[in-house]
Amino acid sequence: MVAPILPMIMSQAVLRRGGHRILGPVTLTLEGRGITIVLGPNGAGKTSLLRAMHGLDRLRSGSVSWAVPTEAARKRQAFVFQTPILMRRSVRDCIAFPLTLAGHSRRDARQQASAMAERVGLAGHLDQPAQSLSGGERQKMAIARALVCAPQVLFLDEPCANLDGRSTAEIEAILLAAREGGTRIVMATHNVGQARRLADDVLFVHRGLLHESGPAAGFFSNPQTPEARAHLQGDLLS
Amino acid sequence: MILKSLFVFFALAFSATASLAEDLKLAVTTSFANSGLAEILLPAIAEDTGINVQLLIVGTGQALALGQAGDVDAVLVHARAAEEAFIAAGHATHRREIMYNDFVLIGPAPDPAGVASAPAAAAALELIALARAPFVSRGDESGTHLAEKALWAAAGIEPQGDWYRSVGQGMGAALNTASGMDAYILSDRASWLNFGNKGNLALLFSGDPAMFNQYAYLPVNPANHPHVRADLAATLEDWLTGDHARALIDGYLLSGEQLFHFNATPD
C-alpha cells in the first residue's frame, strides 16, 4: 500500500499573472474522502486554485505541502483540463501514456489502457485517433487517462463545460464510481446543479479568494456570504 | 528494424574507405583529364603495377596546393614556373617531364579578327585585341591560364576591356562560355577535341612552338608528409617514363590526331 499523500495544506498561496493577482492569498486543507466541488462564477479563480494545488503554476508566495514530498505526491495526482489535451495517438495509446511514463511495459500499459477505456465506455474507439473523438468522448478519454494510474487525488477543471446532458451524466457516473473506489476528487464547476449532484464538500471562490469552505449540505442550505447566496440563486456576480 | 537499417547505412558509408587495393592519389589538371588519355593509362597502370590511381581533377593551382598539404601522393601538371617554385619550397622531391601537347586558338568560324592567317601566336592575340573581338580567359591561375598570360605578355599587350572576359572556371566551363558568346579562347588541344558543345566555334590557329605544353610529374615530398605513398609514387614514375607508357601516349589518337608527345628521358 502506498503512503497516503493527504492531507494537503495550502498556506497563504498567491498566484500573479501579468502584474495582476489572480489568486489568493488562499489557505485551506484538503483531506478526508469524497468529492470537493470548487464553485464560483466564470473568472473567479477556480482554474488557478486547482493549478496551484496541483503545482502546475509557480506560486508567487505561500506554499502547498503534502503528507509526502512534493515530487512523490505529484505522482499520485492527476489533472483533467477543461479542454482535453489530445495527443496525436490512438485512444489506446493516449490512455496508456501515463503508464509508459511511469515505467510500465508497453504491453502492460496497453492492456490496462484497454480495461480503463472499457470502464469509461470507449472500448469501441481504442484504435481510433484521439482527434477523431467527439467532445464528450474526448473528455471521457482524458478522464480515463487521468484514472489509469489510480491516483489518490484527481483534479478536474470544468470537465463538462461544453458538453451535452447525456455526456455530462456519463462523466458524473464515472466520477461517482471513482469516488466509491476511494479517489479523492477536486472538481471545478460554475454549474450549481452539478455541484449539488456531486459535492461532499464545497469551496466557494470569487475574485481569486476563498469565500466559503465546508460540507455541501450546510453550504447549499445556509450559505454564509452574500456572494455565495447570490450565485446559488442564479444571480450574476460581478 | 530501424537499428538494422542504420547499421547497413554506416557499413555502406564507410566500406569505401577501407579498400584493399593499393590506392595512389594523383592530382591532375582538367586538360589532362578531358583528353581521355587517363582512361587508357589507368587500366594499364593497374595491370602492370597493381596501383589503383585515383585522379583528382583540379586546376594547376589547386593541384599544387593539394600536394603541398599532403592530400595527394603526386601531381601531374603543366606550369613550369609554378612547378619549380613548388620544388624550391621543398614540397616535391623533383619534377620529371613526361610528355607535351599543345594549346590551340579557338574562335568563331567566320574569324572576325582574322587570326587564322597570323604568323605566330602572339600576333594572333594582337589581332584579337585590335579587333576588340570577344575573348574568354580561364582566369583561374590554371596551367592554361598561365600559358595564355605568357602569350599576351609576348605580344606586349595587357588585355583589358569589355571584350576580355575572365570567367574564373575550368576548361570545359570556359569553352561552354565561349561557345555561348561566339568568343575566342585558348584551349588545350585535347579538351577542344573532346568538347561536345562546339556550336559555331572552330580551331583557327595552332602549331606555334610557343604554344607547346609540357606535362611534368612531381612526387610529393615524403619528408613533409610521412603518410604519402612515396613507394607507389616512385613505381608510378618509373611506369610513366617507361616503354609501355611511351607506346600508349604516342599511340593515343583523338579524331585521328596524335594529341600527346612522349618526351620523358630515362634516368
Partner: protein, 234 residues
C-alpha cells in the same frame, strides 16, 4: 528545346541500359546522402526538440545561430571540412579526405541545422499543446522530448526530407571534400558538373533527370511507408 529533348532521351537511354557507371554513382549518391540524412536527423531533430522544451539564458542566441546556419553556403562548408581533414589540417591523421565519409560529414553539417530548425518550429507548436499535460504527468525532460518527437514524427519526416533534398542536389561541398574521384567519390551531382565541363550537355542533363527522379522516388517511398505505417497503427 532540342537540347532538353536530347537530355530526356539520354536519361531514358542510361536508365534502360542500366549503365554500370550510372548504377554505381547513383548508388553512391544514395549511400552518401541517406547516411548524411540519418546522421543529421539523429543530431538535428532531437536538438530542435530540446531547444523547443528548454528554457535557458542563451536559448535565443542558440536558436538564432541555428537559423543562420541554415543558410550556410555549401562551398564554405566544403572548404572548412577540407581544411579540417586535409593532411595538413587538425584531423588529417584520420585520412578521411576524398572519401565518402568526408562527403557525409560535409552534408551533415549542411543539413543538420535545417532539420534542427524545422523540427524546432514543429515541436514548439506541439509543446505548446502538450505542455500542461506533460508537466502534470511529471514527465522528465527526456520523456517529454521522446513524446514530442514521436507525436511530431510527420513534421519531422518533412524536416528530414527537406534535409535530404538539399543534400542530394548538393555539389559545391562534396566536390571539394570528395574530389569527384571515379569509382571512389563520384556521385550524380559531381558527375553532372564534370560532364557539363566536357560540354556533354545532353549526358549531363540526362544525369540531372536521373537525379530528379531519384529524389522524387525517395520522397514518395518515405511518404508511402509512413502512410502505411500510420494506417496500420490507427
Amino acid at each position: 528545346m532540342g537540347n532538353i529533348w536530347q537530355g530526356l532521351t539520354e536519361a531514358a537511354r542510361l536508365v534502360l541500359h542500366l549503365d554500370a557507371d550510372l548504377l554505381e554513382i547513383t548508388a553512391r549518391s544514395l549511400q552518401v546522402t541517406l547516411s548524411a540524412t540519418v546522421i543529421a536527423a539523429l543530431i538535428g531533430l532531437p536538438t530542435g526538440a530540446w531547444l523547443a522544451v528548454s528554457r535557458f539564458r542563451a536559448r535565443r542566441v542558440v536558436v538564432a545561430t541555428m537559423n543562420a546556419l541554415m543558410g550556410l553556403p555549401p562551398v564554405v562548408v566544403g572548404l572548412l571540412v577540407y581544411m579540417l581533414f586535409s593532411r595538413s589540417g587538425p584531423l588529417g591523421v584520420l585520412g578521411l579526405l576524398f572519401t565518402p565519409a568526408a562527403m557525409i560529414i560535409a552534408q551533415v553539417i549542411i543539413i543538420a541545422p535545417i532539420m534542427a530548425s524545422i523540427s524546432h518550429q514543429a515541436i514548439r507548436e506541439l509543446w505548446a499543446d502538450y505542455h500542461d499535460l506533460l508537466i502534470s504527468l511529471n514527465a522528465s525532460r527526456v520523456q517529454r522530448i521522446r513524446a514530442l518527437l514521436w507525436d511530431g514524427r510527420r513534421s519531422l519526416l518533412t524536416a528530414a526530407l527537406a534535409g535530404f533534398g538539399r543534400a542530394i542536389g548538393e555539389v559545391g561541398a562534396i566536390m571539394i571534400v570528395g574530389g569527384n574521384i571515379d569509382h571512389a567519390t563520384r556521385v550524380l551531382t559531381t558527375a553532372i558538373a564534370l560532364e557539363t565541363g566536357k560540354g556533354n550537355l545532353a549526358l549531363a542533363l540526362g544525369l540531372g533527370f536521373v537525379l530528379i527522379a531519384l529524389a522524387m522516388a525517395v520522397n514518395l517511398a518515405l511518404h508511402f511507408l509512413t502512410r502505411t505505417e500510420t494506417s496500420g497503427r490507427w
